[in-house]
Symmetry: C3
Subunit: 472 residues, 3 copies
Amino acid sequence: MTHPAHLHPDRLFPASEPARSVARELYPAVRDLPIVSPHGHTDPAWFAGNARFSTPTALFLTPDHYVLRMLRSRGLSYDALGIPRKDGKSIETDGRAAWRLFASNYHLFAGTPSKTWIDHSLHAVFGITEELSAATADSIYDAIDSQLGTPELLPRAILDRFNVEVITTTEFALDRLPHHHSMEADGYLGRVRTTYRPDDVTNPERAGWIDRIREFAELTGENISTWNGLLNAHRRRREFFRRFGAVATDHGVPTAQTADLAPIEKQALLDRLLTGQYSNEDADLFRAQMMTEMAGLAVEDGLVMQLHAGARRNTDPSLLAERGADLGADIPSRVNYVDGLQPLLARFGNEPNLRLIMFTLDETNYARELAPMAGFWPSLLIGPPWWFHDSPQGIRRYLDQVVETAGFYNLAGFNDDTRALLSIPARHDVWRREVCGFLGRWVGENRLSKSSAEEIARHLSYQAAKDAYRIA
Amino acid sequence: MTHPAHLHPDRLFPASEPARSVARELYPAVRDLPIVSPHGHTDPAWFAGNARFSTPTALFLTPDHYVLRMLRSRGLSYDALGIPRKDGKSIETDGRAAWRLFASNYHLFAGTPSKTWIDHSLHAVFGITEELSAATADSIYDAIDSQLGTPELLPRAILDRFNVEVITTTEFALDRLPHHHSMEADGYLGRVRTTYRPDDVTNPERAGWIDRIREFAELTGENISTWNGLLNAHRRRREFFRRFGAVATDHGVPTAQTADLAPIEKQALLDRLLTGQYSNEDADLFRAQMMTEMAGLAVEDGLVMQLHAGARRNTDPSLLAERGADLGADIPSRVNYVDGLQPLLARFGNEPNLRLIMFTLDETNYARELAPMAGFWPSLLIGPPWWFHDSPQGIRRYLDQVVETAGFYNLAGFNDDTRALLSIPARHDVWRREVCGFLGRWVGENRLSKSSAEEIARHLSYQAAKDAYRIA
Amino acid sequence: MTHPAHLHPDRLFPASEPARSVARELYPAVRDLPIVSPHGHTDPAWFAGNARFSTPTALFLTPDHYVLRMLRSRGLSYDALGIPRKDGKSIETDGRAAWRLFASNYHLFAGTPSKTWIDHSLHAVFGITEELSAATADSIYDAIDSQLGTPELLPRAILDRFNVEVITTTEFALDRLPHHHSMEADGYLGRVRTTYRPDDVTNPERAGWIDRIREFAELTGENISTWNGLLNAHRRRREFFRRFGAVATDHGVPTAQTADLAPIEKQALLDRLLTGQYSNEDADLFRAQMMTEMAGLAVEDGLVMQLHAGARRNTDPSLLAERGADLGADIPSRVNYVDGLQPLLARFGNEPNLRLIMFTLDETNYARELAPMAGFWPSLLIGPPWWFHDSPQGIRRYLDQVVETAGFYNLAGFNDDTRALLSIPARHDVWRREVCGFLGRWVGENRLSKSSAEEIARHLSYQAAKDAYRIA
């Protein structure tokens, strides 16, 4: 039997022997391991409400900024793709028309992970083996649409079908977690968990910070005008999030900078911020100091700390004004983890209860910073390749550059980090294939025994994530 | 039949199956496609005058700073290699003696693209299959020399023989384009085109800028003491260059910094510059602002904008004083495209008529900056690997790092960017071989279908450059 | 006969044909070449005294910060591993207990060069073929221990057995070189040589600098309160070190910054430093200026200058306070060689007698800076991959990124740079295997002839280091 290349059962494995055979031998033992998804951005409403997805376009196109940005880069307009405008001007509202536009430009995705994920989803979820194109646009649209109403396509059924053992969502500090509340009530909590992401109150440069910090005070009953009160407010919210399954916090920061100020300096900084009269440097310093405070609170309560450093957000101001954030205009920037984490690590780096997982969009960090740091500090682990780098070549560069210095056991396994539910099994599958391919190459070069490779493949596919995130 | 390794018909293809066979299948369909050379530094006098090249040394050695620098790095003197001195002191003037020195050190070039290009030229142009060495120095010199006088070796015949469909030269803003004028007269213009490179008037740190900016005013009849007059002068020269076939502008800049000042700030900056009393920061800011102005003019007239960022020029001041520029002392430096282009893109990034092609000497830009940016902005394309990185491994790192995020269709195809006429077919051949090898590996890993690979190979070998540069 | 993977005779060679066969053909010609170890940190007392090593733990574990750091990173304590504390509190003193802890965690080293080196040493030195683990801990401990008292395991016998032609140690400027003195007396000097590393007097930020600079004056009889006197003191010590075989100097610097101040500025800087009232910028500037002075002295006396740039030392202040330096807390940082060396090169870069070997912990330097610079300046060579990057993948990235621009003949061959005597043959073996593998891949791609590959393999395995360090 021949397979179309985009669904070939050996896809991504090394092309040449003997690495290819080793990868093929390793893969079956990891292919069907449960999925642990300890960091991501799926909507908890899906799992709480378990309602059907509306249309193929709403499932695959409109919310996927990876796809949207590529189409935009080749001149397609967000109006024609049906992306809402703030000014209410007319956009394409026919989902099928937007879908056709997407399908007829699908060749643009050749070689991208987006295509790999979509092809995988169409096949694994909907049984579609034809490739998306102008010619197949309608038939594929209809095939998806007809299945979306079936019980097998409801969100919880999808978690079952793909053997998702645990999945975490990500909520801001002020979020009341209504969906997790409802899942607590019906016993689904635990399989779905929240994550504490306090960027809304730790980043003074987000619009509306001063209002939110006041809401933070009201919500927690703490006096956030003192530094200790502010920390107490975080303590309360962390405790609240832990009740709803949180095992981790997450921090999206432009740089990896941390700080360790004296108490009097911290209070003076907070005082300036609360007046609204502060400089950009004050905002930077507050974010930096808050990272060290979060590490201190992590030592207290054991939540695993995630640092996602290096995204320059909203680089297209006109798009932001026109339609909002998260539409593809975030671009990586340089990150300096060595100097950045120094104050935090000097303070808490040897605390047995601290665990900090480092993510970066700057691949030069891998060999120069992350691997040496994780290979020394007991508190540090290296997160998997993130965002633009969560791709076959991205995973290869990552393993190439971190393993020799950090070993395999200072890695945090895999995160899918996605908003797109159906891409989760596809992304985990790419990771598992690439891990098998990497190990296959090394076994082929007599650098690892096959038994050691089997153990490592299983670890990186499943247990590493549970260990890293302290998921029992 | 056996081939010497340096001329093996499979050279550069993947060594192992199945990638090797796929590359061998893909290559014949692209090998003989016409050459489109949309950016380079050949001398327009060659094509206008169509006179014979003088000697083998003048053809292969003296003008090739890649070759000269390597010989110098191993202790050979530029005097002995016949490179003219400004002080008129004696240098080697016997071309054959310099050639022998080059030939007897040819082993130093093992593994370099220079050797690949020279070997290719000696074979494809002169039918020479022996490798250059002390032993073959004279016989190869004589073989070249005897052919240089034949009609087949005249510049236009070389363009014919290698199927060069279009080639662009690069001239400064004040250049009167006499050779293009003469080609307009004899109907050769169009196959040979100029490119507008206004660094001579946009970079106040080039010696003699103030004199040239006055000449710019005289030449255009514009009052360059006002900002609008300065832009009008550029408008006139761009129009003049377009008459001589220009489809693009080119900007050699130390950094990718751009600026978007208010009108009053621009005028104040220009005022300071014209007095001659200005700081390094003023010069930086002027260059940065001029890039944004050039983008604005490109929106008006449709010329494609090329940014070549990151060369630190003339790092050997004694060599510069002794013999001048372009003798191998230019070294790459770090580039920050994300922050650098921000002002320009915020202003013009979504203009449908803007096209900006990004080149860098800092490979860390590929995955972190160029691919994410080109995968979002409709105005941006990624130029091919440039200068030191225009090499087999350089092309592999480039494709590895840009394709997954930018796709294949946000790439600008290939540029040879050379002063060495005979290296043009050699360089395009290396690119085409590497593209076939890259695609062969991915087909071998079942990541692309063979039909998709064929389409992409043809696109990247020919059509991509025509599309990128708007060559009809 | 089957081999355990960790001792496979083809280990590290390319997995696939034809590259694998070429590597296997190249390797025998380089495997047994003499070892030239021109930079390292072995203890000269070993070679002077030729006394037996004490225990397996003292040989393999306690002094190896690569191993210690990895164990620490997974939560093992330095107390339990027997690393002495400054406060005299109790630590594990039973070498066998620490060894068992190491052995039972040996799986953490899968994929690391440390495992490759240790496996190689256990086999090549002690004839042990079993892999280290909890189960084999005691039997391997006993096997090593029983051999350590034999004549074959004395330091000089180890140099003989592994065909070490010459090995250099590294001493500070104030070191009286007693062990080299004793080797001079018994005729062993020459095979073992010292290296002049004046960081103790060139870096004002090292604790106790002011006392040492006074000791420097007393030791040399020079007036170090004048700049010329300070240089004369260095001249005298360089001469003294040359008497004990020194062919090189070595400079461990946080950045590659150099400076070229006017005489009056130098004296003013020295005056400030000697008062003890100086800024961090003064200290940076002094280090930077001293690098240029060292280049000037190298022009005079021909010692080869080594620059090891980019280690951020002692990033864990609590560990430093508790147990001291060199325990795994040094982390790489970014390096800028282009701007950094500019003042030094502008002054001395074309001096025929200057040779400067560049080492970096920032791999982004390879293609962007080191290869272009070494491919131009006759005084510059590129040192081999250093520290974290001295590993199979590290060597591959290095060769991939430097060869095309610098060629093979601007490389300084291999340095083991180790404190661990038994790792020396293992490290040279990895380098030689990787060189054969790299060349095997290129021969397989018809980029090099086999005869050229043979010549290059031999050169990079042996002669390149002798040439680079001017070892007759």
